[in-house]
């Protein structure tokens, strides 16, 4: 070991520091539900978290949907930022598939 290395070694500083992060419990993960074969005759739920402008977006979406899939139907719902349980159950009863739209 040369003198320079020896000098560096003698000045070496080691810091042992603790992790500040909170442990996260594992969450059981689920995969998405199977897709529809097609949209013909299906009812599509359009959920908005009530942020301004989503109603305009869905108005156009519904027009396009009916043009391209004339037998498809739409159920629109405006609700909470995080969908309420009762709204989710209601949408699940009425729709075959859904779009969950948020402005942000």
């Amino acid at each position: 070991m040369n003198s320079k290395a020896a000098s560096a070694k003698s000045d070496e500083v080691t810091l042992n520091v603790l992790n500040p992060r909170g442990k996260i419990e594992a969450v059981p993960a689920t995969s998405p539900n199977p897709r529809l074969d097609n949209l013909d005759g299906k009812t599509i739920g359009l959920y908005s978290n009530s942020k301004p402008g989503m109603d305009n977006f869905y108005t156009v979406f519904e027009e396009l949907l009916k043009k391209k899939y004339p037998t498809a139907k739409v159920v629109s719902m405006q609700g909470a930022f995080l969908i309420r349980d009762e709204d989710a159950q209601s949408l699940a009863r009425q729709a075959d598939a859904f779009v969950y739209g948020v402005g942000d």
Binding site: V13, A80, F98
Partner: protein, 477 residues
Amino acid sequence: MGLPGVFMVCNTFADDAKSAAADNGMPTVRRREISSADFYKLRGDVKTISPLVEGVFDALTKALTDPLAPEELEKGEQIVSDDLPAEVTVTADSYRLALEDFNQMYLDRRWGDGLPLIPPTPDAVKWMLSGTSRRRDEVIGTINPKHGIATIEKIAVNAVMAGAKPEYLPVIIAAVECLTDDSFDDLHILASAGSFNLLTVVSGPIAEEIGMEAGIGFMGHGWRANNTIGRAIRLATLNIGHTWPAINDMALTGRISPHTFFTICENAEFSPWQPYHASRGFNKGDSCVTVASIHGESQLNHFYGGMIGTWTAPGVLDRMVEDIQRNDRRSLFLWGSKGVGKYPGSGEGPRNHMIIVFPELAVEFKKMGFDQQKLQNEIYKRISNPYEDLNPAERKAMQKAIELGVIPAGRKEIFQLALKAGGKVPVLVSPDDLHVFVAGGAPGCAFSLNYYRVPPYNKTALMTKKITGAVLTRAGQ
């Protein structure tokens, strides 16, 4: 829901959506993005938004019909942080380099707040823990959005990083107890795009004992106790809750006072009133921490006083009444909303106010016969509007608020009587939504910080806890 679905999100929130999906056990949920730059600009009108919808239509509909790919069917990675080391080693040729490497590494891992950190060595954390009698492995609760587990030790690690002293630790623990309470909405102030913020108020004798500043400049810099308690709370939320700007803390303008939130104490020495926490059911001699969600940016009502101009206590009181009446009147038409969350009126509609009164004004108020409760009642009595002045939308919203429970059962009769010819309709639900305490020096100024009475994601946005477990102070033991 048991249905095929697609989650549509603006592209600047894509990381947030991905993170939230994983937090909720749906890491491979189908997401489709639209341009934030386009959506927010064009959404105001059906005609202007049309090209954007046409552009994303096929992607959304195909997301409902295209079969799931094998990787989507896999359940995704289980969300654990156990793979992170409990301890990290930094070695360098000098202390200066080691300190620099440590700070850069912690920032790169998103374990810092952008300011230099004190290394949380085992020895430093042990020193910090000497401030509490509570066990280091005691679980306090979890912090949103990732529900990270807050233990006494993790709080202490963050307190060291913040530059706090052991005698501050019981205060920091109590603040975290407030934030992790099952009924407190920490998610909105830690993650929302609205840049909402947190006010922490320490009351009782521990504030003076640990050297918190309550006089001139009480919300400012230069006070180690105020500033590092606030920073420890900031770091604890960041690290235990696992938030990061533009990833899952979407505050568009950031959160003002970002490194310490707003962390203050009551000026007990010059207050002529009982401690604030006594009005919340605690004993006068207790030491407590109150956390309150507050609006971001400009939502501060300034009532003046002090040296800005000549003032009288009745004049400042008039100003309080006028400002609250005028500003809260603006949201009356929203009281009839179901709210943006689970509970009636959540995230919009009625508000609460944290009113900060400077000592000289409190003394004058006392001469006028007002303790805090009488002052609350006086302000409340005067912030009503004649029923006849309410427009049809406001009247309808108020009636709806009674039906929905936005106005709780205990206040229903008062509002039913008010919503008649000759009635006087208050702009707040209850006098208890006016929280009054003393802070500041001489001269001072009076102001209020406000927020929704019911937050979007939980039951309450205001929580007080008694400080316990202190071993280095007479108070808070």
